[in-house]
């Protein structure tokens, strides 16, 4: 869920309470992104922090959503498959957990738009 400024017609993710363009000129409205976007740049991580060690190697990318905002997220495919300009769509996945018995964190990762979720 993000926000949309009706005056500037700009979309924001993460959501903003105030539009940085017009500031308080318009009231922001909620907007649900469908999450499709394009890979702007990417890397494959071989050496991660302790929380992500078990997932290496994994792809991380900056993705530009079709409405304009950019975000950082993992792309689930092989290092050979990912490329700049690749189309992706969101997938709800486990991001991590606090040890064997702790809380499991869920969130958005991305998969190639042509592949299966």
């Amino acid at each position: 869920m993000g926000t949309h400024c009706p005056k500037c017609d700009e979309y924001y993710y993460p959501p903003r309470a105030i539009c940085p363009n017009c500031r308080r000129a318009a009231k922001m409205e909620d907007y649900r992104f469908d999450g499709k976007g394009t890979v702007v740049t990417f890397t494959t991580i071989y050496n991660a922090t302790d929380d992500f060690k078990r997932q290496t190697p994994y792809n991380l990318a900056i993705i530009e959503l079709d409405e304009g905002p950019r975000l950082t997220g993992q792309v689930i495919c092989t290092p050979e498959e990912i490329e700049i300009g690749m189309r992706v769509k969101p997938a709800f996945r486990i991001l991590g957990k606090d040890g064997e018995r702790g809380i499991i964190y869920y969130g958005t990762k991305f998969v190639p738009a042509e592949g299966s979720v």
């Binding site: 990417f42 071989y46 997932q55 700049i84």
Partner: protein
């Protein structure tokens, strides 16, 4: 506003200093800087210390008071302030010191930086450093610091034709310079082949593209220029001190391959100093990763956008080249104790401008620039100085 000069500088050897605590490092560098400046405790009326993460690395906060205490200045109650801007903490401490003296609030000020990083494991250190990125919107999804710079590198290569070898050339040059610097963490040279065959950290960046985990401290002493000659025959004048900010997250930037904070700070600094980039004789820039140096020499105005790789490949940034970059060995080879780096850059510039840089001396160096970046460009600090 008063003109400000550096009247003394000191630095510890950078490296894995297993036998020395954060306190030991501070005392070592402090004594060197004060002796170099010929000042005693009574004259000091301000202290700024850059430190990124004492809390994570040695479980010690309140570094301002600690440093004052270690320096033997606590009974004089000298005001001491810790400054934090991630890897730009040192540069920011220098800037705070300059502002204090320039404003007239203080006369003789120490600007120092310190980081003790080897008391924790690599994973903990990586996570502490990742706190300089956007914890909620980058790190939560698995971003690391090398990963963010790797994404800058990937797009720079895609857009401008910068090659994997160009990145390696930065490491080769900086290791060569570092091998001539007695305080440098790495005293060995590397070859392009060695860089290209080192383990992948975050593709396309490899181990030898990354600055190391380092212990170290550095300090400079500042005074009004009009009084500087009282202390030293060779004061180094600060011609400009500038700072820029940008979004914390890399993905929110106007352009992924440009650090606009650096562009902003550099333009401001050049305008304050009344100089053009081509009038600078040498620079210490923030090469936490090899791509960082290529982007920096473009953003600072030494080369056109996209031309940093070619300039490096052709040797224009080597000692003896058009504009020598990172004569100290840079963060890459000299080491990167994050809070100390910005001050070490000033220390190297003091040596160069005094003509005391030994085997790595840039002949006839008159004007130098230092460039310190926090995170992957959320903060940038630029200083220009001259003899």
């Amino acid at each position: 506003m008063r003109s400000v000069s550096i009247i003394g500088a000191g630095c510890t050897r950078f490296g894995e200093r297993w036998d020395d605590s954060l306190r030991d490092l501070v005392v070592e560098t402090g004594i060197r800087a004060l002796e170099d400046a010929n000042v005693s405790g009574e004259e000091i009326d301000g202290l700024y210390v850059g430190n990124m993460s004492g809390g994570r690395f040695v479980e010690q906060e309140h570094i301002g008071a600690l440093i004052c205490d270690c320096a033997g200045l606590s009974r004089l109650h000298v005001p001491s302030t810790r400054v934090e801007a991630a890897c730009a903490s040192g540069g920011l401490a220098l800037r705070q010191g300059v502002l204090a003296v320039a404003s007239g609030y203080s006369d003789v000020v120490i600007a120092a930086g310190v980081e003790k990083m080897t008391d924790v494991t690599g994973g903990v250190a990586a996570d502490a450093l990742a706190a300089a990125a956007d914890r909620e919107w980058e790190c939560f999804f698995g971003a690391t610091f090398p990963a963010l710079y790797a994404m800058i590198a990937r797009l720079h290569m895609h857009r401008y034709g910068t090659t994997r070898e160009d990145l390696a050339e930065v490491a080769v040059k900086n290791h060569f310079n570092g091998s001539k610097n007695p305080i440098s963490q790495y005293q060995m040279e590397v070859t392009v082949d060695k860089v290209l065959n080192s383990p992948l950290v975050s593709d396309p960046l490899r181990v030898l593209d990354c600055s190391p985990i380092t212990d170290g401290a550095s300090a400079v002493v500042l005074a009004p220029t009009e009084e500087a000659k009282k202390y030293t025959d060779s004061p180094i004048r600060i011609l400009a001190s500038a700072q820029g900010s940008d979004t914390l997250a890399l993905h929110d930037r106007r352009d992924i391959t440009t650090l606009d904070a650096s562009v902003f700070a550099a333009r401001r600094a050049f305008s304050m100093a009344g100089l053009e980039p081509k009038e600078v004789d040498l620079a210490e820039v923030h090469d936490a990763f090899t791509i960082g140096e290529i982007v920096a020499i473009e953003d600072l105005g030494f080369f056109d956008k996209g031309d940093g790789g070619r300039a490096t490949r052709e040797g224009l940034t080597a000692i003896g080249g058009e504009i020598p970059i990172n004569t100290s060995g840079g963060l890459k080879a000299c080491g990167h104790p994050v809070g100390a780096t910005g001050i070490k850059q000033a220390y190297e510039m003091v040596l160069q401008l005094r003509g005391e840089a030994g085997k790595r001396q840039v002949e006839g160096a008159k004007v130098g620039l230092t460039h310190n970046v926090g995170g992957c460009g959320g903060t940038a600090i630029v200083h220009i100085m001259s003899r």
